[in-house]
Amino acid sequence: MPEPILELHGVAKHFATGTEALAGVDLSVGRGEFLSLLGPSGCGKSTLLRIIAGLTPPSSGACRLALDHAPGRIGFVFQDPTLMPWSTVTGNVLLPFRIAGRIGAKERERALAAVRAVGLAGFEGAYPHQLSGGMRMRVSIARALATDPDLLLLDEPFAALDEITRLALNDDLLRLWEERRPTILFVTHSVFESAYLSTRIAVMTARPGRISADLAVDLPQPRTRATRTSPDYAALCERVSASLAEAMEPGR
């Protein structure tokens, strides 16, 4: 495995309400990996992502990141596009730079490059309400990519989109990952999505979440439309489904 960019040791999280979201998650993620966190709804996947991003502290355990603590090294994409409705596409993508207090020609160019990279050239001046759901999600991804993060955290980003849009965005995400090679942690509850995108799949149990299976994906790169119909892909999906079923009903 390449040098780890992220190491989790016994990360647990319980909330003041008594809910136990995570129970002892151990995970090591290598630089440049595309890791899917696959699990049923409410298994604490999102909580885990927030802990990694430093948005919420773990109740116990350690989360070690091998990257600069400077803002912008981590990109985050939520399930909702989470855009500022009063800002244009460019304005939204410029947000990380605006917060860092510097918007020069270089930052502007990086933001516009990110907008082009997600296929939104020509929409730089559009407002979110003028865009479709898929396009808004592209803006959200462009914003996360603008700072060229080492670690990209995606929290079920395509769950609310229709199938056609989701497939297109899957391919775009793969292309962006191949171009820039950030480490990606991709939370999903779709077996097919995780199998198609990832280099590795971590399957999580229902609440309290822990990692019950760690599957390497050996499908050839780059993934194409042909991948989706290959027997290897079908076999992998079956394996992942079995792991997920196991994770949801450990007694069986």
Partner: protein, 262 residues
Amino acid sequence: MNRLWLRIAAPIAIGIVFLALWQAGAWLSGVAVYILPAPSDIAVSLWTDGPSLMGSLLVTLRITLAALAAAAILGGAIALVFSLSRIVEISFFPYAVILQVTPIVAIAPLIIIWVHTPFLALLTCAWIVAFFPIVSNTTVGLNSADRNLLALFRLYGASRAQVLWFLRIPTALPYFLAGLRISGGLALIGAVVAEFVAGTGGAETGLAYRILEAGYRLAIPRLFAALFLLSVTGILIYLVLDFISRQLLRNWHESATAEEEE
């Protein structure tokens, strides 16, 4: 397009029918003009007393607009302070409510005694009536920032000032403007009530005093004419504020962009 036309034509048609019935009723019943003047009597009064009534309207309007401006600025500032400190909000909000629910008629005499400049006294009364919707709306708005956006701001290391300026204030803008539209009407009501209580008969008499005076003199058509001007003013204030609000929000807020999405 068709609907816009209907939205203008339908209320006007109802108004015309209503006025016609009123006119016919006044003629046929022969009710004395000092009890119920016909619309034609009121129109005549508007024509003859118009210039002097307009002068009074300007006096009232000046108080109204000054009170509204003060409500917008001070109300916004109070909401900002509330949003910055939860303890300040908890401590002071009940007093803002008390000020709001106390009938202005009851405290106007005190204010008129305490504040010597008539203009300032009336302004204070109108302000008390007008400021609360702005404070309460803007406070809600400042606290309504999207939770995920807040998380994102934290992730990128935003300071509190940046969160306020780039996230909370823009989020609050539609709430503030909704409060402003309510306050516009309230400022006018506040100014009129204050004038009723103050009853200044000096050099500058507002429209409210003209209504009282016309009532005393049984100049009922003039009373109606003054009322008419007051209503038109209230409607105009609302329309202007609504227009400003749409202009400011036209790029992004649902309330301003709904028509386009259909």
